[in-house]
């Protein structure tokens, strides 16, 4: 149990996926202009990321290793992720059209979120078990969500600030992210 908690803290704070490992930066910069968008993106990503890390573990252990085709893992994982995203979209449309309306537009973007493929590959490299893989994926998604929502809140304030002309837009966002990343460096050594 304590191992799981350490794994979660490590994935959320110490090795935060966005600010320390640079995974999932495209949605981090792209959908952080408004807090509502950020929350929607976070919820959709959390769902897909947790599911994808579990399914890709199963595919790797019970399909790729027995057939001795582990070198196909990149292709296999991207197919798994794309299929999962599609599956989630259909499931949402059938069970909860309201949820689909809110989260639907974010789903196609998740396929190209490198955090999802990254977690699948990191799980394999670290030799995590099925339960560990699931929690690592969940922790990674929580860390992504935390940083995305915080960053969106900062950017909403920042849009009112008087920023020098060349720094407006993505430039000041990057520098804000640098300060946030500096703050997250403080968690180094926590676990």
């Amino acid at each position: 149990m304590s191992e799981i908690i350490i794994l979660l803290i490590s994935a959320i704070l110490v090795n935060n996926f966005v600010l320390v490992q640079f995974l999932g930066l495209c949605p981090f910069m792209g959908s952080s202009n408004k807090i509502e968008t950020a929350i929607g993106m976070s919820a959709a990503t959390t769902f897909v990321l947790t599911l994808a890390s579990m399914v890709s573990y199963l595919v790797y252990q019970y399909l790729l290793i027995p057939l001795d085709i582990t070198w196909l893992r990149t292709i296999a994982f991207i197919v798994v992720i794309a299929a999962l995203v599609n599956f989630t979209e259909i499931l949402m449309l059938k069970t909860s059209p309201l949820l689909h309306k809110v989260l639907g537009i974010f789903l196609p973007l998740i396929t190209t979120n490198c955090a999802v493929l990254g977690v699948a590959l990191l799980n394999i490299n670290a030799g995590n078990s099925f339960v560990e893989s699931a929690f690592y994926g969940f922790g990674a998604a929580l860390g992504f969500s935390l940083v995305l929502v915080l960053f969106a809140a900062l950017r909403e304030k920042l849009s009112l600030a008087d920023v020098p002309a060349p720094f407006q837009g993505p430039s000041i966002a990057m520098i804000t992210a640098a300060l946030m990343s500096l703050a997250f460096m403080g968690f180094t050594g926590l676990v």
Binding site: L19, V20, Q21, F22, L23, G24, L25, C26, M29, G30, W71, L72, R73, T74, I75, I78, V79, A82, T111, T112, N113, C114, V116, L117, G118, L121, L122, N125, A165, P166, F167, Q168, G169, P170, S171, I172, A173, M174, I175, A177, A178, L179, S181, L182, M185
Partner: protein
């Protein structure tokens, strides 16, 4: 015919290298850009692989563009890119293993570099093979130049040196390490993740600044005689 072709190629190059640069303007492929730019060697390695994958995926997508219907377009493109990335991964394991270890997870993650999928969808799916391959080359160079520049900046500010460990990319290039700042104590911040964000922010600001200067210069050239400019001031 020849001149229109030249014009088109020139336009593609200008778009890719400056006006529509995948890294500086479209902000695509940020993850590898920031993660791998802690040294020039890693940056060069990833730049090379990304450019090659871009050229081949654009060429392939363009070759089969008439056979693919809109419904299955995206999955097919992603699979094409993933195949080329796997080829690159296997080649690197065979011929540049220490570089492969040094870049690590970001080699397979080239698959999710949105810049590559973006070019396949917006350009290669609507253009002939040779033009698409050229576009891939230029977009790759546009991405690479930013990646290498960021890598060089971070390595100089972080360690005071340039081209350290170049031999893991080019086996014959031993001892090409250049000391830019002698007796430099080192500045760890530039090598850590926050430094990557900060230097990228500064590069984006520099690009905006240069663009503003160009616009101002053009406005001055358009109204050379003082009477018209004073007229403009009156109106405003």
């Amino acid at each position: 015919m020849m001149t229109s072709m030249n014009k088109k190629l020139k336009n593609i190059s200008a778009q890719a290298l400056w006006q529509n640069n995948p890294a500086l303007v479209q902000l695509l492929g940020l993850c590898p850009l920031l993660a791998v730019s802690s040294s020039v060697v890693n940056a060069l390695g990833l730049a090379l692989v990304t450019t090659l994958v871009l050229i081949f995926s654009n060429l392939m997508v363009s070759l089969i563009r008439h056979q693919i219907t809109a419904a299955i377009r995206l999955p097919v493109f992603v699979l094409i890119i993933a195949s080329f990335v796997t080829c690159a991964e296997l080649l690197m394991q065979a011929y540049a293993y220490s570089l492969y270890l040094s870049i690590g997870i970001f080699i397979p993650l080239i698959v999710t570099n949105c810049a590559i999928l973006g070019r396949a969808v917006t350009f290669a799916a609507n253009n002939s093979p040779l033009i698409s391959a050229f576009d891939g080359l230029m977009m790759g160079l546009g991405f690479s130049s930013v990646l290498i520049l960021l890598g060089a900046l971070r390595e100089i500010f972080g360690t005071g040196k340039l081209f350290a460990n170049l031999d893991i990319l080019l086996p014959m290039a031993t001892n090409l390490e250049i000391t830019i700042l002698p007796n430099y104590p080192g500045f760890l911040f530039a090598l850590l993740p926050p430094g990557a964000f900060l230097f990228m922010g500064l590069l984006l600001a520099l690009k905006n600044f240069i663009d503003q200067q160009i616009v101002e210069k053009n406005i001055k050239n358009l109204s050379p005689n003082p009477s018209s400019s004073s007229l403009a001031e009156d109106i405003s």
